[in-house]
């Protein structure tokens, strides 16, 4: 870490933003959020239309909040009460758009050097070189954006926005459309670059995969509000709302009726609608006869080809596979047990068990894999 950057360190991004109508034509909800983004990567997670990109636009100065305050460290970028509203070009907030917005008529090198006007030629050149190297695209200097691959374009967009030594980096689903491996490689390079600089990075995504892969602080948004924040485990494993549960990748959303409560054991039994299936789930605020919603992740369900015995898992349900579908390194099975479950397993497991459509199987569900979700 060099000493010049020392002062910039530990500059937290704080944003309080209120906006009546985030975008003309979109569903009329009010955006009202308050975010603290410490140095390092913070994920802003939520379904499409939750208002995530609008928050980024406000921080970058491309949209104007009705009220609020945005500051990077000590520097106030926007303050409705004090009447401060810095222009986007003076905020030193880097922003990588989902479409990347590379200048199509410029070479890679010209794109990356775009933000460096006013610097001496030598320094400009060395900074461009450094960034192209940091993101492993130094061989593409003279190419145009149309002539390189998607992953390379994403790297160049990152290099272009970081070459200006911003104090905040905003990323709006910049890696969508890349496979997991490439994504991880780019994020590693980004982390390496940020290790010495420690700027706050706000990373917007709507996919759970990316949240898992990045594995850092998460702020979850929906309908213009922050609904929870913490580690990915805290935010994703304990959904507080049905909407979030869906977006957080619960493939199975089931409806049921509470049969009885076993308070001493901390569980209750729920009969799933339109079937005779009864499963044991964690105790919730419910009384016998109440209707409840359950969310179960497809990857949390075990499959057996003979009836399992002597298990700690409390729920074993018999069913039949109605469909199997391979998606990359994942096999998705639909199992009919009176109600239909979606189960994820690895191709290896599917081969070993010789699973085909029509196979008779038993589903094994741990009590605590069944999440109660509010309506």
């Amino acid at each position: 870490m060099d000493s010049v950057d020392g002062e910039v360190n530990a500059a937290m991004l704080t944003a309080r933003v209120r906006l009546e109508r985030p975008r003309a034509g979109s569903s009329p909800f009010e955006l009202d959020v308050s975010l603290q983004v410490p140095p390092g990567i913070t994920i802003l997670f939520g379904p499409s239309g939750a208002g995530k990109s609008t928050v980024l636009d406000c921080i970058a100065g491309l949209a104007r909040p009705d009220a609020g305050r945005i500051a990077a460290g000590q520097d106030v970028l926007f303050d409705s009460q004090a009447g401060v509203n810095c222009l986007p070009q003076t905020r030193r907030v880097a922003y990588v758009f989902q479409t990347l917005a590379l200048f199509p008529h410029m070479s890679v090198e010209e794109n990356v050097a775009y933000g460096l006007d006013g610097l001496p030629h030598k320094e400009r050149e060395s900074r461009v070189k450094e960034l192209l190297k940091a993101f492993r695209v130094d061989k593409l200097r003279t190419r145009r954006p149309a002539e390189i691959s998607g992953g390379e374009r994403q790297r160049i967009a990152l290099a272009r926005s970081l070459v200006t030594q911003p104090r905040v980096l905003l990323l709006d689903e910049p890696l969508s459309g890349l496979d997991a491996e490439l994504k991880a490689a780019i994020v590693d390079d980004l982390r390496a670059w940020n290790a010495a600089r420690q700027i706050p990075i706000l990373y917007v995504t709507h996919t759970r995969d990316e949240v898992d892969a990045l594995g850092e602080r998460v702020i979850a948004m929906d309908h213009g509000r922050v609904i929870s924040e913490g580690t990915p485990m805290q935010v994703l494993e304990a959904p507080r709302r049905k909407r979030l549960a869906q977006s957080a990748g619960f493939e199975n959303l089931l409806y049921g009726t509470v049969v009885d409560l076993r308070e001493a054991d901390g569980v209750m039994r729920v009969r799933l609608n339109a079937s005779h299936c009864e499963i044991e789930v964690p105790l919730g605020y419910a009384a016998p006869g109440d209707r409840v919603h359950l969310a179960i992740r497809a990857g949390d369900i075990l499959l057996a080809t003979s009836q399992p015995r002597d298990l700690s898992a409390r729920n074993v349900i018999e069913g039949r596979i109605v469909a199997m579908e391979t998606r990359g390194t994942l096999v998705r099975a639909r199992v009919d047990c009176g109600v239909e479950f979606i189960v994820h397993l690895t191709p290896g497991a599917a081969r070993t068990l010789e699973l085909v459509e029509g196979s008779r199987v038993w589903l094994v569900l741990k009590t605590h894999s069944c999440h109660l979700v509010d309506e």
Partner: protein, 230 residues
Amino acid sequence: MDALLLSLRLALCVSIILLAGGLPLAYWLAYSNWRGKFLLEAVVALPLVLPPTVLGFYVLLAMGPRGPLGKLWQTFFGHGLAFTFGGLVLASVLYSLPFAVQPLIASFESVDRKLLDASAVLGAGPLKTFWRVILPLSIPGVVTALVLSFAHTMGEFGVVLMVGGNLAGVTRTVSIDIYDHVQSLEYGEANRMALVLLAISFAVLSVVYAVNRQVGRQIGRRLWTPWTAK
């Protein structure tokens, strides 16, 4: 041949002035959020629907010795504006305004807004964004604006007749010259002139379209390939 040279000179002057003035005007019309913008858009488009005589009539009044423009010109240059080459240029600029401004607006508006946002967050002010991003991506529109204002000025008749009259070497453009010859039943002369104009116009337009197409092909590959996602 005087008439032909005069026409070429006029068209060249008008195209250059229209490009210089059309760029800021089109920029403003493309990006301003002003509510009354539609009024200015209507004014710019007026020459498209007005008969050239109506436009010429009012321009003539304005440029006359008692008109505001005429008086202004008189104080600066010591002579009137009507029936001079300068007056002709001014009238032609007004008359061809929509042909220059509208292609420019269209091409400015087709530049992806995200590129402008990207430019801003990279620290560029509006002027740098215009020169480095908007203009280079609007080259086809600039070429179209130049060709249309040149061609439209070459071919104009009514406005020139109203404002410029028919002074040999000063305001007698090629279209008026042809009209003159026909009036005096000199069909041979008229035909010679008309053929020359036809040949030149065709040659100029062919060259311009060929070049534009060539550039367009490069642009198609380099500038407009839908390389952005989706």
